[in-house]
Symmetry: C2
Subunit: 338 residues, 2 copies
């Protein structure tokens, strides 16, 4: 049997009387090559039956002009604003946003692998980070550009090791700012409301709350924990806390959804929200202005976040960026902003 002779990029370059780089450009950036040269090199490629090998193609492949973003199976009002800002930021960088669905965790990696194999995207922006999220390590290993919105946590309030760039909001810092504001309003008995399956990001907010109480000489925050992640569950947990002897006068909730439950519990107990019981949320989602009397919450500055994510797609060595959240004051906790 005749052993097939492997045609190299140098052979194509010699045959078409151009440099190796020009052949690479023909394959990957044809728009950079003069039409005559383009035709000559393509003819040589066809004539010789040249096939660029996998690694060479990966290194210098043609841009897809698209960035992949996975929609979470779990909805929150906040991600609507994030997605719009991300889409605009990606477009401002000259690419389009390709939306896809995938399961969370390991099970979703096959979908990422498929998009990479199809060359449908040049990289990924990943949000909806789960504890021990496998994506940063997996993408980093494969040399696929990506940027995470959120740190990965290892089932606890401390971020684990995470290769590649990320952008996140400083949840602990924002919680501390809320506690400082509540203290100025005269509150000393503060509860932190989360739920049984709280993510690392939520626990980080609780840590910030606890540290701020300690720093201010207040008793440690009362831990109030909903069984499920919904307002009804949160309402039950806060009702119980309000009925206890050392009932809190302020509730710092780990999210708006949970805060709405605290507001319902206050109404049910005949308390005036913002006066008898102060309530704060997180995320400044669509429900925050709608929940009577208006929910004080922490806004994620989506324009800053998405611009930083897109910048990091290009600069994989840019590292992490912790962004300050913005406290949006409404009547549920009329704290003073600085």
């Amino acid at each position: 049997m005749k052993r097939p002779h492997r045609v190299t990029i140098d052979r194509v370059a010699a045959e078409s009387r151009v440099s190796r780089q020009t052949v690479s450009n023909v394959l990957n950036y044809p728009e950079r090559v003069a039409p005559d040269t383009l035709r000559r090199v393509r003819l040589a490629i066809e004539r010789l039956g040249y096939q660029p090998d996998r690694s060479a193609r990966t290194m210098v492949r043609r841009r897809a002009g698209q960035v992949g973003y996975c929609l979470s199976p779990n909805s929150t009002g906040f991600m609507d604003d994030f997605l719009r800002a991300l889409c605009a930021a990606v477009e401002a960088s000259g690419s389009h946003l390709l939306l896809f669905t995938a399961p969370e965790g390991e099970a979703g990696l096959a979908v990422y692998a498929d998009l990479i194999a199809q060359r449908a995207v040049d990289g990924f922006v990943c949000a909806h980070v789960v504890d021990d999220d496998p994506r940063p390590a997996w993408l980093h290993e494969r040399g696929v550009p990506f940027a995470m919105f959120g740190r990965t946590w290892s089932s606890g309030p401390r971020p684990g090791p995470q290769p590649g760039p990320w952008v996140d909001v400083d949840g602990a810092g924002a919680a501390a700012a809320l506690v400082a504001g509540l203290r100025e309003l005269g509150h000393s008995r503060i509860a932190f409301l989360d739920w049984a399956g709280a993510t690392g990001a939520m626990l980080d907010r609780g840590r910030g709350c606890a540290e701020a109480c300690r720093a201010a000489g207040l008793p440690p925050p009362l831990a109030v924990r909903a069984e499920e992640y919904d307002s009804a569950s949160a309402e039950r947990a806060v009702r119980a806390a309000l009925a206890a002897e050392d009932a809190p006068t302020a509730v710092v909730a780990a999210s708006d959804i949970l805060a709405v439950g605290a507001v319902h519990a206050a109404y049910a107990a005949g308390l005036r929200v913002g006066e008898d019981l102060a309530v704060t949320g997180f995320d400044d989602s669509v429900v925050a202005p709608l929940c009577p009397p208006g929910l004080t919450s922490v806004r994620q500055p989506v324009e800053v976040i998405t611009a930083a994510l897109v910048e990091r797609l290009r600069d994989q060595d840019a590292g992490g960026l912790l962004v300050q959240g913005e406290v949006v004051v409404r009547l549920s906790a009329p704290i003073a902003t600085r």
Copy 2:
């Protein structure tokens, strides 16, 4: 000067000893062509300098494998669910969803034109329909596959002429179902709440409400109109209506956002929501379950809608489809479902 000789697809076919269809396949579906034939035809194309003309390319162009969807500059909680369902439906049909941003109305058409010119998409799913929306006629004229979520209205409660396929929820029918349920609860003084800039879709809901009142022998619905499209504006309008002599006992709001304002107004007037004042919304958005005591609303069946939209992308002659909304009963209007 020498007049350039136009190379035709037939000339390429003759030169490479294949049929016209095979040349077309090489250009548009190379995966269907045997490697040897592919190489031979491509060589002929390069040698002759063949350039497929615009209309031929449009007719038999290679699939982009992507469907375009424009994010609205206006957020509602409902569209989050819609987008997730649309993404899944498009993926189930073997394509990806390309997300983009564009201004509403005529100003946005340039973005659509650019995506078509780039061949980034095979077609569009369009939502966030505005009155006199130019997109159906514009896309239809260009032979670009599309499907509208929503009918276009001409500044009034009747749909205007609209080429191409669409899917919409029967707003008038759903409003009539709400009125029937409220009447069974003993309400006869019903208000319809919309706002000064109400879209045709909202006016359609009002029309359904009025027709149901007439059919049931009730007085015509009291028209309550917010100045702006937000809950605070709606609250002011409903407060005024509640203070008037013929105050309504039930408010059918054209959206959840407006309904939340009616709930606030009831609380402010010391009324029990669901007992003294019944309130219903539209869209069953994320705020509906969160707004105390839980807002009765009309759910848009997003899975049915998105499946029908994707089906219509393939079958441009499928026409319109009016889908029934589903009344989701909560405590703000404890009506009986059938």
